[in-house]
Symmetry: C2
Subunit: 163 residues, 2 copies
DNA sequence: TATATTTACTTAACTAGTTAAGTATTTAAA
DNA sequence: TTTAAATACTTAACTAGTTAAGTAAATATA
């Protein structure tokens, strides 16, 4: 293990370390798909699983469920459609909406994909075995930021410092 | 708080939640800089601080210290140079190397920047007050992945499942 | 019923990272 | 001492997200 300046920075390095960690794991997943010759990309599993649970969902429902921006969802869905995993049906009642659902190809391949995802899930569980609270603490951070955004927190602390 | 499908996914949603969290905080920092009319970008503070500590550093030394790829460092440094925060001096002993150091402008503005960074640091400490182990657990994950990469872990678990 | 506002989705332009491949210099080896 | 390999940096092409602005349809209002 080489020197890690971000660790030396303590709390100030946390944000970048979180990004580094999630990037690292994301690229690993991409590698696994490549090695196993699976033609999907990381993060698509959210879409597969939510459409497995709910049959159909619109773009904005997904954006809300994942707490991602709508353009982010549009990009993911367009790629998945291009590779034949998603069928898009115009909503009969509201012509603005587009109902998304899994294609036959997606439904057929889903069980195979799920073996990969559960191996990934197991890997994470194994790494967390001694510190199962990590997810709870992650949730605590999410909730606190939901309640008061990080920039508000910084600005508040800046005002206090000025005094 | 709306439904959060990533939370429902448990361990499988962790990677994306880590990204979402670090993105959220990063955008907040950008907002703070904009509000305070500060002409720097998030993550530049690593560079300011490492060059404050060590006077000069090369591109590759930085890449190693931050555990980022060299192209990532090159991009950051080029932007910082363009805005006048970094001076680049060709190394006398090795013509491949470029020694980076803070410009006068950077040194002059540094104390002001540091008030912002310490407000940010304080904000993180405040959010973590009840779960100070979060950083330790983050470090544990980093170390485990250093020891055995996430894709190796997934492939190992896949093999076990097959049996 | 015509107009204004909201909602659903899309597009464009941006940030922040990656890998792969290219150039130039230095070091090691035959 | 010439050649091969490694190192330092750069460039190109890609992924994954953002915000801001645009279009079309639905809803609310005067």
């Amino acid at each position: 293990m080489k020197n890690d300046y971000l660790k030396e920075l303590g709390h100030l390095g946390m944000i970048a370390r979180l990004k580094r960690l999630s990037d690292n794991m994301l690229y690993s997943i991409r590698d696994v798909y490549r090695i196993k010759n699976i033609d999907i990309e990381p993060n698509w599993h959210f879409v597969f699983l939510i459409l497995k649970d709910h049959k159909t969902r619109t773009m904005s429902e997904m954006a809300e469920a994942f707490q991602l921006s709508q353009p982010a969802v549009v990009k993911i869905i367009n790629k998945m459609k291009k590779r034949g995993y998603i069928d898009i049906v115009q909503d009969g009642h509201d012509n603005r909406k587009r109902q998304l659902r899994l294609s036959k190809k997606a439904v057929d391949l889903l069980p195979m994909f799920e073996t990969i995802w559960s191996a990934g899930q197991l890997s994470i569980r194994q790494m967390l075995q001694d510190n199962e609270q990590f997810l709870a603490e992650l949730e605590s951070l999410e909730q606190q930021l939901q309640h008061k955004s990080f920039n508000e927190r910084i600005l508040t602390n800046l005002k206090c410092q000025e005094k």
